[in-house]
Each structure stands twice: as structure tokens, then as C-alpha cells.
């Protein structure tokens, strides 16, 4: 066991340690706990950034690779953690988004914070583990950990609705986990190894019907976890029931982590040619496009703000999955850029909706009347992020959607291009519905609403941090929309990783 590249373990262990401290922090002061949470997430961000900065030359020439091994090497009893350019990109954007969400939740969460932060950091540790792991068994463990730790967060405010949503989420998540487990077991019995790289080397040796079974079970598990069309009912309920920072975590970060697992499994481990050979890639492509369209159409009839945002997430995730299935360089560029863009936009939208909805009686569209007059600047930020999601020119949503559209046109897949365009137009309609409602003048203010506002007025004078996080997200969306070239280098190296899985396989097996 060598101590080289201990940072990889630190990335997973640090949030776990903070979670343990948080679990026993009921006697801490409010301030101490917040400082601990923000510094923890900050150190994590610094670690990932330092990995990028210190290895900048290696990243630039796509040679970047770190590995950490626990256990006896050259036996099956070994746990591998590896980081290549693809994992670095995902680790970077996920950590940055989680850092901002932590800052937001220090002000947003007002009771049972110790429990909240303990679960939150456990989810964060599992996310890092999922991104860094290099063998299937640990991957299964971390995926299940994510599902189990997010469930109490969904039912954090104990009402009938949240309990229902959390229960349904857990039922679907665990069923997906069982399918994943079957697939892993089949791989182990056929090849006698669980290392992703070793599986990748000898996946050809398995008989074709067995390959088909393995791939179908993996696809089933990931389709359930991603909320693709036939099994998407749990997603809007779960994502709209929880507190706003958790909605941002689930919709903005976690869905992308599942997309990362999808890429890891179907490009690095199982070569994509197998999917094409077995005629599954076109099937998944069409399914994802239908899912995208259905998500956008369902968002039209959603009468709750957060439910609408969750349905819109289904639409975007379907689009990203579809464009990745094209398996061209342009498609990867569009897909990875849209993953980054959607992470920023959806986290920003959920956080600002959480801020706006604190003054209203319910999440229903009728109660949003006049909300734009009450919180002017925050609502303008909300509109800008909405425009980004629709795809307005100077913002990052436009750039990423443009590249996705170009990828579809280049592959001559016109249904895909149609779905991207139609999704934008439908999105314009459903966002306008809410925006126009928000600027409606309230004629007869009901007494309960006014009383509620007065009681909250003193509270909102001190809540600058939440507003600042929302403004920061808005500025990031504008800034990266103008300077999207920043992402060009990391995304291109990540694409190199997807197109040449041989490098990852050789380095993992050789080290």
C-alpha cells in the first residue's frame, strides 16, 4: 500500500468526517456549525482545484491520471480509486455547485441543522466516491449510499406530501439498485473480476446473450435512477417535496452524477460498440428524446413552481442522454457543456425559487401573484436564469443548446434537432406563465398573507447570503455564456478520455 495520491481518499474522507462531527453537533453554536460546513466544502473545492492547477500541463496534454489502491494488489481483494480527465471535470463542477449550495443552506435551514448537514455531507462523500471509484463493487455501494442518505433529506420537513415522495423515491431507487446488483453479479460470474478496467479488457469473451442481459440490467437501473420516460413518476414529486437546497442537489448535481456513471459504464467499461451491435443505442436514443418531449409537455400543466422545474429537468436530462448516444465528438462536446450549464442553471433556479417561495402561502401558481414586485432583484435574477434555460443568446444555456443542436444536425438526426427546438419553445411558454403571474398586481391582499409578510420582514433583512448566492449563480451564467471557451480545454480532454478508453484501462491495470 503506497501513500501516493492520498488526495483521492481525502476527497471522500473529508466530507464523511465532517458529517460525523455534524451528527454530534447539537450543542454547537449556530455560527460554529455554519463555519465548519462552509470551510469543509471550501477545503474540498480547494483540493480539487489544486489537483487541476498542479497537474495543469498533464491535464492539457490529456495525460492526467491519478490512482490510489487499498489492499493487496494483484489479488481480487483490492479497492481502486482512479481519477482521469473525465472524473476531474465532474469532480470540479460538482464540488463547485455543492460549495455554493452549502453556503445557501447555512441561511436557509433554520431548524435541525445538525441532522441536515450530517446527511448532506454524507451524500457529498458518496458523490465523490461514485466519481472516483474504479471498481464496480464500490460503485454499487456508493450509489446505494446516495439513495439511502437522500431519502431522509427529502422528507426533511415532515408533512404527508414529503413522506409520500420520499417513500416512493426509496422504492424506485432500491429497485434500480437490485437490477444494478444482478448485473454486477453476472459480470463477476463470467469474468471473475470487478475492476472496471479488467472487465473492459475481457468483455468480448462473454457470450452475446449474456452481454445483452448484463447491458439491459445496467440500462434498467440507470433509466430508473435518471427518471427517463416510462419510469419518471417519482422524480417530480421527490424533487419538489424537499427543501430548496436539496432540490438543487438532487436535480442539479445528482442527475449529472448518474450521467457520469452512464458514461463510465458504457464508454470506458463496456465499449459503446456493443450497444450499437445489439441495436440498443438507437432504442435508448429514441426513448431519451421521447422522455425529453414528455418532460417539457408535462411541465406545461404543472401548477407548482418546483414541480414545473423538476419536469423541465426531465426534459433536459433526456436531451443530454440522447445527444450522448450519438457517439460523435461534437455530440460529447454539446452534452458535456450542457451538463455543466444545466448544473448551474437548475441549481440557481431551485435556490431562487426556494428564496421566493418563503414569503408565499404555498407553492401553487395562484399564490405567486405579485411576487415579482416584492423581491425585485431576486426575481430579475430568476428571469435571467429562466432565459438561460430556454436558450437566450448571451447566456450559457444558449451556447450549450447550440452545440447540442449542431451535433444533432451533423449526425442528420432531425427528430433530435426538432426536440431541442420544440423543448425551447415549450419552455418559453411555461416560464412565461409563471413570470406573468408574478408581475400581476395584487388587488385585494388577503389578511393572512400580509400578516405572514410582516412577520417575515425582519427575518429577510438579515438574509443577504441567500440573495448573494443567487446573484452569483446569475453572474456565472452570464459570464460563462460570454466566455464558454474556458470549458473548452477540460471538456476536450474529457472527450479524449471517452474516445480512447484504452488509456484508462492500461493505466489502472498497470499501476
Amino acid at each position: 500500500m503506497s501513500w501516493m495520491n492520498i488526495e483521492l481518499i481525502l476527497l471522500i474522507a473529508l466530507p464523511a468526517v465532517i458529517a460525523v462531527i455534524m451528527a454530534f453537533s447539537s450543542s454547537f453554536k449556530h455560527q460554529t456549525r455554519n463555519i465548519l460546513a462552509v470551510t469543509g466544502a471550501g477545503i474540498e473545492l480547494y483540493l480539487v482545484f489544486s489537483l487541476l492547477i498542479f497537474n495543469f500541463e498533464a491535464v492539457k496534454s490529456s495525460n492526467f491520471f491519478l490512482q490510489f489502491t487499498i489492499g493487496y494488489s494483484n489479488t481480487p481483494f483490492v479497492i481502486n480509486f482512479a481519477m482521469d480527465n473525465l472524473s476531474l471535470l465532474f469532480s470540479l463542477i460538482v464540488t463547485a455547485a455543492v460549495f455554493l449550495i452549502v453556503i445557501f443552506s447555512t441561511q436557509y435551514i433554520r431548524d435541525k441543522e445538525n441532522r441536515y448537514f450530517a446527511l448532506f455531507f454524507l451524500v457529498f462523500a458518496s458523490i465523490q466516491g461514485t466519481i472516483l471509484t474504479a471498481d464496480l463493487f464500490t460503485l454499487y455501494l456508493f450509489i446505494e449510499a446516495i439513495t439511502i442518505f437522500t431519502t431522509p433529506l427529502i422528507s426533511f420537513n415532515k408533512t404527508e406530501k414529503t413522506t409520500r415522495a420520499a417513500m416512493q423515491y426509496l422504492f424506485y431507487g432500491i429497485t434500480g439498485g437490485v437490477f444494478f446488483f444482478i448485473s454486477i453479479i453476472l459480470i463477476y460470474f463470467n469474468l471473475g473480476t470487478l475492476k472496471m478496467a479488467a472487465v473492459a479488457e475481457s468483455f468480448v469473451l462473454i457470450s452475446t446473450p449474456m452481454q445483452l442481459t448484463i447491458i439491459i440490467f445496467f440500462l434498467l437501473a440507470l433509466i430508473i435512477k435518471l427518471g427517463i420516460f416510462p419510469i419518471h413518476f417519482w422524480l417530480p414529486r421527490a424533487h419538489s417535496a424537499c427543501p430548496a437546497p436539496i432540490s438543487a442537489l438532487l436535480s442539479g448535481v445528482l442527475l449529472k452524477v448518474y450521467l457520469y456513471i452512464f458514461m463510465r459504464l458504457f464508454w470506458t467499461m463496456i465499449a459503446f460498440d456493443f450497444l450499437v451491435e445489439l441495436h440498443l443505442s438507437t432504442f435508448v436514443l429514441d426513448l431519451a428524446l421521447v422522455s425529453s418531449l414528455i418532460g417539457h409537455v408535462f411541465a406545461l400543466q404543472a401548477d407548482e413552481l418546483k414541480k414545473m422545474l423538476a419536469y423541465s429537468s426531465i426534459g433536459h436530462i433526456g436531451m443530454i442522454l440522447a445527444v450522448l448516444m450519438l457517439n460523435t465528438e461534437a455530440a460529447f462536446y454539446g452534452g458535456l457543456l450542457h451538463i455543466t450549464a444545466h448544473m448551474m442553471m437548475k441549481s440557481g433556479l431551485f435556490l431562487s425559487s426556494g428564496y421566493l417561495l418563503r414569503t408565499t402561502l404555498s407553492h401553487h401558481i395562484d399564490d405567486l401573484k405579485g411576487i415579482g414586485h416584492k423581491n425585485r432583484l431576486v426575481f430579475i435574477a430568476f428571469i435571467i436564469i429562466c432565459l438561460g434555460t430556454i436558450g437566450m443568446p448571451p447566456l450559457i444555456g444558449f451556447v450549450s443548446k447550440w452545440f447540442v443542436l449542431l451535433a444533432f444536425l451533423e449526425a442528420r438526426h432531425y427528430f433530435g434537432a426538432f426536440v431541442v427546438g420544440a423543448g425551447s419553445i415549450i419552455a418559453l411558454i411555461y416560464y412565461l406563465r409563471y413570470i406573468s403571474q408574478a408581475y400581476e398586481t395584487v388587488k385585494s391582499e388577503s389578511k393572512t398573507l400580509r400578516e405572514e409578510l410582516i412577520s417575515l420582514k425582519a427575518f429577510f433583512k438579515s438574509t443577504n447570503i441567500m440573495k448573494n448566492v443567487i446573484y452569483l449563480f446569475t453572474l456565472l451564467i452570464i459570464f460563462f455564456g460570454l466566455g464558454y471557451k474556458i470549458f473548452e480545454m477540460p471538456i476536450n480532454t474529457a472527450i479524449f478520455e471517452l474516445l480512447n478508453p484504452q488509456k484508462y484501462i492500461e493505466l489502472v491495470l498497470g499501476g
Binding site: S155, T163, M167, F181
Partner: protein, 111 residues
């Protein structure tokens, strides 16, 4: 062949209980039967009638059962137990709010 047969029957039984039954606790039982089916299957495959896979000092173990499936199964059992506990807790909470554990009668679960 026999263990494949048992696996498919048990798995389908669990899946039936998970999907078709309206009682939520029966759904949890169905989920557990599904998991148990997978675990039985794994163990039945990995058992080749060898020795326990602990490396004894000074003794050469020639034929031993593969420990990796056993480790996988143990982890799976732990995950299954914790999810069952969490699900039952949520069902108890839901029962406090709505007074029933029937999936059909709880509003908003079937639309």
C-alpha cells in the same frame, strides 16, 4: 440449472408483490424477497464445496470457496436491511398522516 429456476421464481414472486399488491408493507416484503432471491442465487453459484476461505497460517488451502461473492452478499444484506427499516419508518409516518397503509387510498400516490 436448478438454482436459476428457483431464482427466477423467487424474483418474480417478489416483483409481483412489489408491483401488484396495494398494501405498502407487502410491497416492502416483496422488495426483500427480490433481494433475497438474488442473494440465494449468488451464494448457490459461489459454493463449490470447498473450504472456508480464511487463509490459515502454515496450511496450504488448495480448494476454497470464492470470498468475493460472500462479501458482496453481506454488503447487499446490510443495504437491504437498512432500506427495509427506512421504508417501514416512512410507512409508519405516512400512517400517522393519512390513517391507512393502502397504496390506493393514499392520495397522490397513484396519478
Amino acid at each position: 440449472m436448478f438454482n436459476n429456476f428457483i431464482f427466477i421464481i423467487l424474483f418474480m414472486l417478489g416483483f409481483y408483490a412489489l408491483v401488484m399488491k396495494t398494501n405498502l408493507i407487502k410491497n416492502v416484503i416483496g422488495l426483500n424477497i427480490m433481494e433475497a432471491a438474488v442473494f440465494f442465487w449468488v451464494i448457490s453459484f459461489s459454493d463449490i464445496g470447498g473450504e472456508v476461505s480464511i487463509h490459515k497460517l502454515g496450511e496450504e488451502v488448495t480448494k476454497f470457496n470464492d470470498p468475493v461473492p460472500q462479501a458482496l452478499t453481506l454488503t447487499g444484506i446490510i443495504i437491504g436491511a437498512s432500506t427495509a427499516a427506512l421504508l417501514l419508518t416512512l410507512i409508519i409516518e405516512l400512517n400517522k398522516f393519512s390513517g391507512t397503509i393502502d397504496r390506493e387510498k393514499i392520495e397522490g400516490l397513484n396519478d
